[in-house]
């Protein structure tokens, strides 16, 4: 071991130039790809968002300009959609966390004694990934449609008004978002809880802390990295999603989110600047929210 360290230390001054050339060779293709197909499109999106309609042009014809009023227009026009995107995503994130925490705790802590059961349960957690996201959502639409057993029996028991619907409501959209992103929440929670040292929990109860205090003061702080990762992995795609809120899936005319209007403006109305401006707003808002959240959860972790 010491010999190996000595050998590398001696070899290093010989070939720094060659090494950096190898690093460049390894990095260049992938980084160039990301610059070309990730960074450049973002810049293109900003430029598009400032375009103005071409004079005497057709629908979908725009020229580069500095038409920042596009942003004012889309915010005025689509404020409810913006609010819905973040509201629904927040609700789905909280629900997914509440759903996933006990599940991840059981798999990661209680099931440690049975590794085979543990890996089987992990396969079950990711099983929804193996079946088309859209078909899963459509399956829920049919399971929870007005004619379905669940909804009609709820109505028969007078737990739901006879003329009420579930699909097409905000609840259905939040339900769909929650369901679809649960694995993204459960997996990071599992990875931190799996490493949780249970001796800390024993120490807590030896010091006469009740189970709730042990959970609040020991388990939650120790699983904070998983909570932060899981909430981010759920919130970001949920805020940009437009499948669940789409009318053909779980949504209705009053549940459209930002993703739906970006899609409509880009692919149907051919109003590219509006779609681009909305995309930039979505991304900027998410970056700001995530920045604040990571910072706050970081300081809470230290306290």
């Amino acid at each position: 071991m010491a010999f190996a360290a000595f050998a590398t230390a001696e070899a290093q001054p010989q070939a720094p130039k060659k090494k950096s050339r190898i690093a460049l060779f390894l990095l260049l293709p992938g980084i160039a790809y990301l610059v070309l197909f990730f960074l450049a499109p973002l810049i293109s999106l900003v430029l598009t968002s400032l375009q103005a309609p071409r004079e005497f042009g057709d629908i979908g014809q725009f020229d580069y300009a500095f038409n920042w009023q596009n942003y004012v227009t889309v915010i005025q026009q689509y404020l409810p959609h913006i609010a819905r995107s973040f509201g629904y995503a927040l609700a789905a994130t909280v629900l997914a966390l509440l759903f996933s925490y006990p599940l991840a705790y059981f798999i990661g802590v209680k099931a440690r004694r049975w590794p085979l059961l543990q890996s089987l349960m992990l396969v079950l957690v990711i099983a929804p990934f193996f079946i088309s996201f859209l078909l899963r959502t459509l399956a829920w639409k049919q399971i929870l449609s007005d004619e379905s057993i669940i909804i009609s029996s709820l109505k028969a028991l007078s737990l739901m008004a006879p003329d009420a619907h579930f699909t097409g409501t905000p609840f259905a959209v939040i339900f769909g978002l929650t369901y679809n992103f649960i694995p993204f929440m459960t997996l990071p929670l599992y990875t931190t809880l799996e490493r949780l040292d249970t001796r800390y929990l024993e120490a807590g109860s030896d010091l006469y802390a009740n189970p709730f205090t042990v959970f609040r003061k020991i388990t939650v702080p120790l699983s904070m990295p998983g909570i932060v990762a899981g909430t981010l992995l759920t919130f970001i795609p949920a805020a940009g999603d437009y499948v669940n809120a789409s009318r053909d899936f779980l949504g209705g005319p009053d549940t459209q989110m930002m993703g739906n209007v970006i899609e409509a403006n880009f692919l149907v109305l051919l109003n590219y600047p509006a779609a681009a401006a909305l995309s930039i707003i979505l991304m900027a808002a998410i970056l700001v929210l995530v920045g604040i959240y990571v910072k706050r959860s970081g300081t809470e972790d230290l306290l």
């Binding site: 190996a4 690093a23 390894l26 293709p29 996201f133 859209l134 899963r136 459509l138 499948v243």
Partner: protein, 300 residues
């Protein structure tokens, strides 16, 4: 003398044990009750949670056997017909979409896995400037909503005047897969013992030989995992595809477009078949990993 001491020690020990047991009772009581609660409540919850997670999968699978005529909403009876004649419906539109998805997934996976593995090796093994900028560039695609990625690429293709077809879908999928490959392979590179490569060099292997005979085989599990993840991400992607596909159909896009008029049961057949295939693959990987761990334990 020594007998007395021994007896005293034994008695003392017994007394101590008795004392401990006596003292333990009031502490253990609430603890036992807590464990008792967790013993059935948490497993029961876990079972309910898994049932909930699996409901739509079972539904999709069951309805692949539905003897439906056009749309697959109400149950009309059991048939194997849809499984046996998947490609017959709508002039094979479902199968064409599925085939496109496989071609796109494989191509994007090969490119993304190659580029991502190279980056992962460079990130772990070499020190260079602009390291934090590169890390940010790799992290951002994962933190950007898909709608923004899709609209951005579509805006660029529009600005440059590139017509949207299968190539643009592959370019888009490769882009979002690279970051996931880097994350997956990086962990594997970091856990690699540099002494093994050192040994290869000491035995007069050329750098290429060291890479292909030592490094690459050791990285294979990580690279395979990254490739599987890439393929799964690409195969199931709808949002980015929708913005960059033009008239090219993929399986998720086919489902999205037919959702308004009703999905044929054949789509359920394809989704169920893919599900079963992936399940067998994952369980097989788990079992072989467990077997290898057992073998290694026996050797050690």
């Amino acid at each position: 003398m020594s007998g007395e001491v021994q007896a005293g020690a034994v008695l003392g020990g017994l007394a101590e044990q008795e004392q401990r047991e006596g003292a333990r009772i009031p502490i253990q009581k609430p603890r036992r009750r807590r464990i008792g609660l967790g013993d059935w409540l948490l497993p029961a919850y876990t079972i309910i949670a898994f049932v909930f997670l699996l409901i739509p999968i079972v539904y999709t699978f069951v309805f692949s056997f539905n003897d439906s005529i056009k749309s697959n909403i109400s149950w009309r009876g059991f048939t194997f017909d849809k499984w046996l004649n998947v490609c017959r419906v709508e002039g094979g539109a479902v199968c064409e979409a599925f085939g496109n998805s496989v071609v796109i997934g494989l191509t994007a996976t090969v490119i993304a896995t190659t580029l991502g593995t190279m980056i992962a090796i460079a990130l772990v093994r070499y020190r260079f400037r602009a390291r934090s900028a590169i890390s940010l560039l790799l992290f951002l695609p994962m933190a950007t909503p898909e709608v923004v990625l899709g609209a951005g690429l579509a805006a660029q293709f529009l600005a440059v005047g590139v017509p949207k077809d299968m190539t643009t879908i592959i370019l888009a999928h490769t882009m979002f897969c690279i970051s996931f490959v880097v994350v997956t392979v990086k962990a594997r590179v970091a856990s690699l013992d540099p002494a093994l490569e050192e040994a290869g060099r000491d035995l007069y292997a050329s750098p290429a030989q060291v890479f292909w005979r030592v490094t690459f085989p050791l990285l294979t599990p990580g690279i395979l995992a990254a490739a599987l993840l890439s393929f799964a991400l690409s195969f199931d992607d709808f949002i980015i595809t929708n913005f960059n596909s033009g008239s090219t159909s993929t399986f998720p896009k086919y489902v999205y477009i037919s959702a308004s008029r009703g999905i044929p049961a054949e789509a359920n057949v394809i989704a169920s078949a893919v599900f079963l295939f992936a399940l067998v693959l994952v369980i097989g990987a788990q079992v072989s990993r467990a077997a290898r761990a057992k073998r290694l334990a026996k050797l050690g």
